[in-house]
Amino acid sequence: MNCAECKEHLVAYIEGLLAESQKQAIELHLKSCPPCRAEAAAITTLYNRMTTNGKVLAQTDLEDKVLSRIVREQNLRLRKADNHFQLWRKIMNSKITKLATAAAIIVIAVLSITFLDKSVTPAYAIEQTIEAMRSINSIHAYCTDWDNSQGEVWVQIDPNTGQEEYYYADQGNLLIVATPQATYYYYKDKNLVRIRNEYVPASEVRFSRFFEDLVRWVQQYNGQLRFYFQFDEELQQEVIMVYGSIPTQGDMKEKEFIFRVDSQTKLPISLEMLK
């Protein structure tokens, strides 16, 4: 064995990975070659130095510290979610940013709405939409996210609280079915179902109170709401356009959105975030 061959196998030799014959060949060479012997000693020294250092560092135990930080952070996040500002941001990030077609909203509850007489009321009465939305107990919506990914969601709502109770959401590869007892995630590509024994909310948005929450935020952040009537070519009917804007708030950039509201049922047909 020459020096080049010896050097090539030196690490494997020190690690004890060589076959007996190769091991003996290396040992024979080391006996007769001082430079290679020095090289082997240097590697062994480094090897021992790292092993010792590893043992010192291994004395630290981060498990409990990390776990308690996770719990703390989780609690903090839950508290933050109660904050309106955060809620607004979550709406902006939510999949439910566009309720696509008129047929997409199915109202099971009977609506008692006085038709708005344009000749008498120049401005659009927001209260009627708020009232109409409060009576919703089931929503079927098609959603488009910022990245143009499509989704579909069915939600059953508790009319008293405005909170979702059950939902079914199809987000392409992932299908979620949630009941008050459990949430089921079906990953279509892996053909895998994951079950969590709790209700995992689909969104921080209160569907049936969405419009009124939004109106409240607009007021809270000194925003503006403007209304006008427009004939919608796609729906072949007149719709109420509600244009809203909120000026820049701290680290939140200005927001603009348009609600299209069905002039008969007073229910929102679509919501588009412009900014």
């Binding site: 030196l10 690690e15 291994a58 981060l62």
Partner: protein, 181 residues
Amino acid sequence: MSQTDKYYIERCLDGHSDDFRYLVRRYQTVLLAQLTGQLGSKDKADEAAQESFVRAYFNLEKLKKPDSFFSWLLGIAKRVTKEHQRNEQRHRREIVRSFSEKVPGPELSQDYALERAIAELPDSYRKLILLRYYGGYSCSQVAEQLDIPLGTVTKKLSRAYAVLRKSLRQQKRDENCEVQK
């Protein structure tokens, strides 16, 4: 503790957050070795390692390949390190501005020279060294974890040793120059 990373990640995603402790146990020394070399002191590395693990936990859903948890975790630790270093620089500048005094250097760890040399290694060598000496992996386990042949592991280790020794020699020379000055 013999389960795969993927197993524990799926458990965490299923709501068993306590199982994250096994991943912490598996990679804490590796992470500390990397961070101590970069941040200089054991306490800072400790803090940054905790921060990296917590961030990893809250982003587990985003990890597309659970088998590459280790590399992904190192990436997170790298970002955390940069943030810590930036904060520290800012903090130092403030101290200098307010007191016009020389800022004391960080309290060094037990073998800072070695840790610094490891931190300066190219990524592919560093991963090997970290797993082998700080993660308690054997060479064949390293090969499996990084999905490379065993022969490549020993060859790369050999090159990594050469780079480490050179770096340690350089550090020593710099120290001597410093003393002579």
